[in-house]
Symmetry: C2
Subunit: 459 residues, 2 copies
């Protein structure tokens, strides 16, 4: 097999050198990448979304501003725009969190970089003061038992594993302490939890993200602590058996708020009943600008329409650009979009989402049944010239994943994952952290796939 | 063919899921990547090279410090280290350059971000004041003729082309204005040249780099201007026909200085006469820290030995880690290394260099004849699991390229190229611009290839 692959690879490579006739698709790919890199609007759109709109947590005024901004942008591109109403959770952070280690031996009131996890209750005025107990797995809670946990702040300090090549795998292995930590610790009488930030790097940024409570289990405040401070605390606990900390958070959950998915549509000229959708999620966390998560995905989805316009591609199938609301703390937008689609009997041939950052494109994760899978995998060689190789069967992305119905081909755009968690849900996720060319190459790659879905369909 | 590739791809992908027996090579690859990500030293070595040693232009005291630093690091890894003497150019920048547009209509003495190109003569005290004439190609010089160029500063303003997917192609298409601009403009009586920085991005950093004079053509001062200022000047020239500028540079070339290639060696246990070499260039430009160019390559080459040690790989062939001196402005180190190797009748089975930045690994460019090429291409599937796909025939890298003798297999490590020219030869090329994981994944990828060269040889 090695021999065969080698020969195929060489065949592909040398083919680029010779003046063979380019196929229609090869020519269109070249035009798409050229237009993205020379006439692209995604980078300036991202600047506007990050700098003019800013952080846009579900239910916030900026989320509403983002809705109106997207509507305007999609209308300018010639799309018919619908605002699809959806009720979303409305959690607010309140005043900035404060945290410090209580004066202790050589340590004088040392400040800690923390932020409340999304959905957490606050601590009340003056904050919460208690002893810290460090754990790594949920099973550690059982080992320690109520006796050693009751009345304390449980510090979940399991790092993301460095050795997974795909950083998202490390995330999925570690994120449980963030989503379920408060519930599990509360069962043993903990009064609060502190979670090591989901970050492969050592730095001073706390990374927020959603957490959940459970009926019948007391709600306790939950915060993330920066990886540097997690290391600091862990070392301190090795030296001193008893370490106390104090933290104060003013977050709270207000009644659900009204918001919208923003749906731009151009009817297909030949197969108007076959929908091909591309999207990103418009909401973001509140402490950064949501540049990689998921401003990049939003502007890349919008860019599909822009590039189709530049290249005068009139979609044969109905093209939708969807800005989903509330992916971060509820997925309410995606659920409503899928519910309405089902109710109307709409057929989604394919749906693509970019929600892994605005980095150099590497490939696609494809969720569909054979022989549709085979059809998509056959397109891979067209992308190889653009350094996009990794086509693999797997879960797509959160919002479009909800559309799963056995017919739709669902795709997650997969850019390089190595730097993603440097920024994810942190104050560092700003416009400046996105590289223009990397973002544009992603837009081109997604557009090229949408072009193929439109041209060939999936039936 | 699509069908065949699709099937092969699917085969490869599903193979990862099933519990098939891993080959010896697959197991070793897993260990190499794990060790690089969990026990790597390359990032801390890079910090030392950038922060403790600093910029290390050939002939400078820091270049000498870098030599001693590498010697020590390689000796600590158990290598026998040789300092191979080589005379190198010794160009010094002198006091920081100054440049401004001479007061002009609405423009009051506007400062420009410039830096002298490496090898340029200075302007003399008080600087050079003259009118600017903008050109894009060398053919523009002929069109304008001596009449319009004589006594003026020629401003070469050809941007790097955005649409090449490989940014190095854009570099090679544009860099002639930097290397030969002064000579070509001087032939028409120009008194100085200003060159748009080799940068795909619009920013305020001037990017230096080597330039050459020619016997019989008057030496005139040559500087790079930031891309933002190149745009500013070009716009100004559109509005006003006559624009004058003033720039002052104190650079000069001193007599050649003595320096060294640093060569670490471990004799092969089975085939000591077969050399496999891995290197980077130790010298850098003087205005940054040479982090991507080529501190990353140096520490990745050093890391091969570290990872071999961690994994207890005793090389069967003679392993050399070479820190080449003076790649940037002369290639004297590489030439001396190749000359001595030839003189001694040494056989280089393979030589790999990383000199394209410390970014996420994408593949290798391989320079060798069939059937050796076939042998290396057959190894590609081993790398695919680590997202390294792009194996292609092509030029290797500057230093190891000099070893070309029809027998050696020469390889250039190819990381992602999109961000490279944001930093190349600029003050922004600092330690902080390198991502730890991306650097480590590069080290692992290079080490994995070196392991294959060592295990299988190339005969």
């Amino acid at each position: 097999m090695y021999r065969l692959i080698a020969i195929l690879l060489i065949g592909t490579l040398f083919a680029q050198e010779t003046k063979k006739e380019l196929s229609v698709d090869e020519k269109m790919f070249a035009k798409i990448y050229q237009a993205a890199l020379e006439e692209g609007q995604c980078y300036e759109n991202l600047r506007a979304l990050c700098k003019d709109v800013g952080p846009r947590l579900s239910g916030s005024p900026q989320a509403e501003k983002a809705v109106m901004w997207s509507k305007e942008v999609l209308e300018k591109l010639g799309m018919k725009v619908t605002l699809q109403e959806v009720m979303v959770p409305h959690w607010v952070r309140g005043a900035k969190e404060k945290a410090h280690v209580v004066a202790h031996g050589a340590i004088k009131k040392r400040t800690l970089n923390i932020c409340a996890l999304g959905g957490s209750v606050g601590t009340g005025e003056g904050g919460l003061r208690a002893e810290i107990v460090e754990v790594h797995q949920f099973s550690d809670l059982e080992k320690l038992g109520k006796e050693k946990i009751s009345g304390k702040i449980v510090f979940f300090n399991r790092p993301m594993k460095a050795t997974n090549i795909n950083a998202f795998v490390s995330y999925s292995q570690a994120v449980g302490q963030r989503t379920r930590g408060a519930v599990e610790a509360s069962k043993y009488g903990a009064v609060g939890v502190l979670v090591r930030s989901m970050n492969l790097r050592l730095d001073d940024y706390p990374h927020t993200g959603t957490m959940r409570y459970q009926d019948g289990v007391k709600k306790i405040p939950a915060a993330a602590v920066s990886t540097n401070d997690a290391e600091f605390l862990s070392n301190l606990l090795r030296e001193h058996k008893v370490v106390k900390m104090n933290y104060e958070m003013h977050c709270k959950t207000l009644p659900d708020a009204k918001s919208y998915n923003v749906i731009g549509e151009v009817k297909g000229s030949e197969f108007p009943k076959e929908i091909i959708a591309v999207g990103g999620h418009l909401d973001s966390w509140d402490i950064g600008e949501g540049a990689h998560d998921d401003g990049a995905g939003c502007v890349q989805a919008i860019e599909v329409m822009h590039l189709f316009n530049v290249l005068k591609i009139k979609p044969k199938r109905t093209l939708r650009v969807v800005m989903f609301m509330n992916e971060e703390n509820g997925l309410r937008g995606a659920r409503e979009y899928a519910r309405v689609a089902k109710e109307k009997g709409e057929v989604h041939v394919a749906a693509v989402e970019s929600d892994s950052g605005g980095f150099t494109p590497r490939g696609f994760s494809i969720d569909t049944a054979w022989p549709r899978m085979e059809k998509v995998l056959k397109w891979q060689p067209l992308f190889a010239k653009y350094n996009v190789y990794a086509f693999f069967p797997g879960r797509s992305a959160a919002d479009v994943g909800v559309l799963k119905d056995g017919r739709a081909t669902l795709v997650g755009f997969k850019p390089d994952s190595q730097r993603y968690f440097d920024y994810h849900h942190a104050a560092s996720d700003v416009f400046e952290a996105v590289n223009k060319r990397e973002l544009e190459l992603g837009s081109a790659t997604i557009t090229a796939l949408m072009y193929l879905f439109d041209r060939y369909g999936m039936e």
